[in-house]
Symmetry: C2
Amino acid sequence: MRFPKLFERLATLAPLPPEEWVKAEAVAKEQSLAKRELFMRPGDAADRFAVVLQGVFRGVRVSPRGGESIKAFRAEGELIGAYAEMLQRLPSMTAIEALEPSHVLVFQTQDFQQLEQGHVCWERLARRVAEQHFVLKERREQEFLELSAEERLVKFWEEHPHLKGRIPQRDVAAYLGITEVALSRIMSRRRKRAE
Amino acid sequence: MRFPKLFERLATLAPLPPEEWVKAEAVAKEQSLAKRELFMRPGDAADRFAVVLQGVFRGVRVSPRGGESIKAFRAEGELIGAYAEMLQRLPSMTAIEALEPSHVLVFQTQDFQQLEQGHVCWERLARRVAEQHFVLKERREQEFLELSAEERLVKFWEEHPHLKGRIPQRDVAAYLGITEVALSRIMSRRRKRAE
DNA sequence: ACCTGGGCTTGACCTGGGTTAAGGCGGAGG
DNA sequence: CCTCCGCCTTAACCCAGGTCAAGCCCAGGT
C-alpha cells in the first residue's frame, strides 16, 4: 500500500476493503506538476481525475466571452477533475491549474469503471462523492442567493483557512463572483471599520 | 404496477427491474396537497421525499434573518424533498410548498434504504440522482458567476418553459436572487427595447 | 356594482460593485 | 544595484439592483 493515509481518508466516506485499495493503486499513476501547469485544459476529454497528494489547484471556467471564473480550489486529499463534464460525457470546459508545485495521483475513469464492476464498494464510494459534491454546491448556491460579496468573503476564509497565503487575491475574487478591484475595496473597508 | 409512466422515467436513469418497482410502490403512499400547503416545513425531519405526480412545488429556504430565497421549482416527474439535509442527517431548513393543487407519491427514506439493501439497482439509481442534482447545481453556480440578472432570467425561461404561467413573478425573482422590483424593471426594460 | 387585497409596476433615492486608469510595492533577473 | 513585471490598491465615474413608498389592475367576495 503506497498511500495508507489516503486510504484512511477515503474509507471514512464508504467502507473500503484494503485489498480493493491495492487494486486501485495498481492502476493509478503519480504525476508532478510545476506551478501554473495545467492538469486539464478546456477541450480535453474528461476521462481522468486525480487525488491531490501535495499542492493546491484551481478549477477555472473560461466562458465563451473570455471571462474567467473559479469553480473551486482543491488542496491535499481532495479530488480534481472535470466532474460535471465527465458525468455528461462532454469534453472538459474547465481548466485545472496548479497554484504551487504539486503532486497528484491520477486515475483513468475507464480503469475506475473496471474497479466498480469488481466490487460494489467503489460504486458506493462514487455515490458518496457525488452526494458530497452536491452538498457543497448547494451551500454555494445558498451563499449567492442570500449573502453579499463581503459576507461571502468572510465565510470563504472561515471555511478554507488552510488556503491562506496559498492563493492570489484575484482568484479569491473570481471565486466570489466579483472583480479583484471590488475585493480590494471590500478589504480596505473592513480594515477601516475594524480599527 | 400503479404508475408505469413513472417507472419508465426512472428506468432511464438506471436499469430498474419491474419487480423491484412493484416493491417500491408497495411502500409508497399517495398524498394530495392544496395550493399553498406545505409538503415539508423548516424543522421537520428530512426523512421522506416524493415524486410529483401532478402540480408544481417551490423549495424555499428561509434564512436566519427572515429572507426567503428559492432553491428550485419542481413539477411533474421530479423529486421533492430536503435532499441536502437528508444526506447530512440534519433537520430540514427548507419549506416545500405546493403552488397548485398537487398530488405526490411519498417514500420514507427508511423504507428506501430497505429497498437498497434488497437490490443494487436502487443504490445505482441513488447515485444517478445525486449526480444529476450535482450537475444542475453546478450549472446554477455557473450562472451566478458569469451571468447578469437579465441573462439569468432569459435562461430560466429557456430551461423551464413548462412553468410559464404556473409560478408567480416574485418567486422567479427569489429564484434568480433579486427582488421582485428589480425583476419588474428588467422586464419593462426588455419590453421597451423589443418594440 | 362596490369594496378589498394580492400581486405587479413605477418612481425617487441610495449603495455596491464594474470599468478604466493610474500608481505602489516587492521579488526575480539583468 | 536597478529594472521590470506581477499583483495589489486607490480614485473617479457609471449603472444595476436594493429599499421605500405610492399607485395600478384585477379577481373574489358581498
